[in-house]
Amino acid sequence: MPVREQIEIHEQSDVVRIRHSVRTLAIELKFSVVDQTKIVTAASELGRNTLVHGHGGRCSIESVEQDGRAGIRLSFEDQGPGIADIQLALKDGYTSGDGMGLGLGGAKRLMSEFEIVSSPGNGTRVSVIRWKP
């Protein structure tokens, strides 16, 4: 399925735009209100990571389908410093900034699938999917 929308992330208001676009698609796909909230919250966490830790990047929002099941996929990409220890970054409470350290691990818990590719100097790409029940 084609990418529904791409949003460049350069400032805080871009994260707000991502939240709106993600919610609109989640509503269209008829996700429950609880699921919509989880997906939008995960999008907000990952969007902020891209902005703050990745020094900006972009987000693609798309609907996906597998075995007749609909889902929503969000991909966040940046060319920032990258993450040396992904396991550590996923740990609750670990933070390199001044956040609570729940962004990555929290987003992972809120979504059905979570994939991260990152290494120092090569930026970070996080892709998450939430499938409809």
């Binding site: 907000s44 609570m100 818990r109």
Partner: protein, 131 residues
């Protein structure tokens, strides 16, 4: 610059968050509220998040910070109007809101603030067992 309005009701401050906050706006609210608590010698802060569709870790931290700063300034914080979906998501996200009292709606939140204030004045110098 955008600001979230803070209303004064007697000894309490009332904030209704009605916009989808970007992070700077959340920080601004934290600063404004802390300043106003000290300036007006407020004894309680009621934050109404009925219109908030999500609370992510940044907003959660902002709410916790407000409650902590308010406490240091001798004011109680009550958070009201959290949507059930937001509550479920917060728990799954792994976010607890230490130090924040919650109530279902503004009426109950105000009652909670009133009660803790009168309990305090009624009990004179007695220890505050409520928190």
């Amino acid at each position: 610059m955008d600001r979230i309005p803070i209303l004064r009701m007697g000894k309490f401050l009332l904030v209704t968050i009605q916009v989808d906050m970007h992070d700077r706006l959340a920080m601004q609210l934290q600063d404004d509220l802390t300043t106003q608590i000290a300036k007006l010698q407020a004894r309680g802060v009621l934050i109404d998040i009925t219109s908030l569709e999500i609370v992510d870790s940044f907003m959660g931290r902002m709410l916790v910070n407000i409650a902590l700063m308010a406490k240091v300034l001798d004011a109680q914080t009550v958070l009201v109007g959290m949507k059930p979906a937001v509550a479920i998501t917060l728990v799954e996200l792994g976010l607890s809101l230490p130090g924040i009292r919650t109530a279902l709606n503004v009426d109950r939140g105000m009652a909670l603030l009133q009660a803790s204030l009168s309990e305090e004045t009624g009990a004179g110098e007695a220890d505050d067992a409520g928190s």
